[in-house]
Symmetry: C3
Subunit: 269 residues, 3 copies
């Protein structure tokens, strides 16, 4: 078997912050044109919202976790999401099969180690998966601390990206995205995003969709979190609470186009 990471390793020269919104607009356009299939092994709470987010974005979701078919679904998908938000036995088996198949087929995959700080078996499993060369990892500060054993810092983030050979997207008030060398800070987003369950999980599904059409995983992750944050601001302008926000977020992702994205993006390197 060939090295799974190498064939997709593409590092573009575009790292200037000013060029990133246009890059993201291009990725959004490609998702809309190509309608990539994204297979999601994700938690029960996130499945419906993530599927609707992917459909609104222009991607085609599938969600099965049955061990005897998840391999075939993954092989026919353009990208894979592994999310640990619920940690039942069938999902764990499915995750391992799907990752093996994605790796063999040269498909990019994202790891979202949800709530790893809450239980030791989950932390241990997440560490095993992080060593299997995901193209991107999306997590928050508590999850980062649980995985690495140290509080978050920019240096620690870069080191972890180099160690796992994955792009790390740390979400929070400002999202940070690094491949160890390049680092982007995305200031988009809305406070109600943290009041809707599975919002982060759905964001990771968007990362997977962008990875499906963009070989530079840092660009794909920056684009995904940027467009997600801009859509969050659009949704926040219409919502009267977290219920209407979740609905408006799907509408915003659907309505988003390159011009709105480029006008709304707030990103620095």
């Amino acid at each position: 078997m060939r090295d799974p990471a190498t064939p997709r390793k593409v590092v573009s020269r575009t790292t200037a912050a000013g060029a990133l919104p246009a890059m993201a607009a291009g990725i959004l356009e490609r998702v809309r044109e190509r309608a990539p299939r994204v297979h999601c092994v994700t938690n029960a709470v996130a499945q419906t919202f993530s599927a609707n987010m992917l459909l609104a974005l222009g991607a085609v979701p599938s969600m099965t976790i049955a061990p005897d078919e998840v391999g075939e679904f993954t092989a026919r998908a353009d990208a894979l999401l592994i999310n640990l938000g619920t940690f039942d036995a069938e999902r764990r088996a499915a995750a391992e099969i799907a990752i093996k198949k994605a790796t063999e087929a040269g498909r990019p995959w994202v790891l979202d180690p949800v709530f790893v700080e809450r239980s030791h078996p989950r932390t241990a499993f997440a560490k095993v998966l992080a060593d299997l060369h995901p193209q991107a990892l999306r997590l928050n500060r508590a999850e980062f601390a649980a995985l690495t054993g140290a509080a978050w810092s920019e240096g620690g983030l870069r080191a972890y990206a180099l160690e796992t050979d994955a792009v790390v997207g740390l979400t929070g008030e400002t999202d940070l995205v690094t491949d160890g060398k390049r680092l982007a800070r995305i200031a988009n987003g809305h406070p109600l995003m943290s009041k809707v369950t599975a919002m982060g999980c759905a964001g990771s599904a968007v990362v997977a969709a962008c990875l499906a059409v963009e070989p530079d995983a840092w660009h794909a992750t920056v684009a995904a979190l940027m467009l997600f944050g801009v859509a969050g601001e659009m949704a926040g302008a219409r919502a009267t609470g977290p219920g209407s926000f979740a609905v408006a977020m799907i509408d915003a992702i659907y309505a988003l186009d390159g011009n709105v994205l480029m006008r709304g993006a707030r990103v620095a390197c």
Copy 2:
């Protein structure tokens, strides 16, 4: 055991397209009056949306898939939905138990072979279930092709209905419903219906609810897809994207009455 299909086999003489909207209005009214119980063995992504759709329609949903109680739930239900959208071991066991119980009790059931084109074990399992005499099958063109091994055609559709002894509802831009002899074409619907996950699954739940109150399975399936399509148009008039569309769809099903349905129906034979 008596032949499971025979007792419910009722073929009304009403096949003229002009009479179908009033027939559908009558079925809608009966669902509202009788509040039939519909047991759904459906996929994880579709459960909540389908339950809300059935409640909005006036039916009473139940959703358990536990093998040791699904039989009892089915025996007390007025119709059954089997949907293969997620294909875990427990759901497969539940499907077989529930179908056996529905058959013994003379209850109608619908098969929705979601995504059978994506994996071979799923196709094989769907074929086994299709041979167990569902009153109706709802599927799209890719699913039809996977089940029958041939691309869709009107002749193929009629032949498949005769072969399975089931009403076949093929959904798409125009929905086609046939029992092999009679064939209706329903032009209602809205493009955003394909942008909401589990919309088709929820439509199959509506088919089950209509079968619960109407012994002519062709009438029941025509009525279900017609009212679903008309509600889709009502929802589309209010929505600003797929998020608000999904919400408006539930409201539209709830608000739908016979007059609106008869005015909105676009059906040909």
Copy 3:
């Protein structure tokens, strides 16, 4: 091991109906301040809606049912919800582990015996759990009848509360909450609440959140059902059907404050 129920047994002297809205406003304020963690072993249909309800209220939900981590999640939570709405093997194992852990840690827990009238194994399991000393039980009339073998009456309700040593919240057009001695009647609510799946389950999650910050379980349950009913009326004023109602309900729970609650409460003893 110490008696699990005793340490949390607190009976306040405030039982006059006039004092209950202000008491409920105080509990709401404490939930907002303390952001209690509520672990939910709940059914697949209810997971997402319940998590969003808890987030909107100001609590922090977790939802895992994996047997090897549910204990750790429960031990780190401030309250536990056990809901029997779907009854798969993994959830049953999870329920037993979580209850044991909550009891050992002195955490309050709520039992919601959904649909126990529909299957005998479920009734039997619910009876076993009801004997494990939940602080509160939330159910409707059919569920009460299935558990106790007798139709609902005020005397029967009080007797059942004394027998189980739990506060019993019987929801319906008027909600009744009793610990056997004190009894409150809450007239708040909206007809559309019964047209949204898992609305009752989400209400039980709110009971758990209130128990996390209030040791008098009768006060906590009264407060939870009162604020839930007032929010239902706020949502009903904005909704055009059950789809928009579900969304508005989340927004209403988020917007609710002590003044609105005290103005809206309709409660008698």
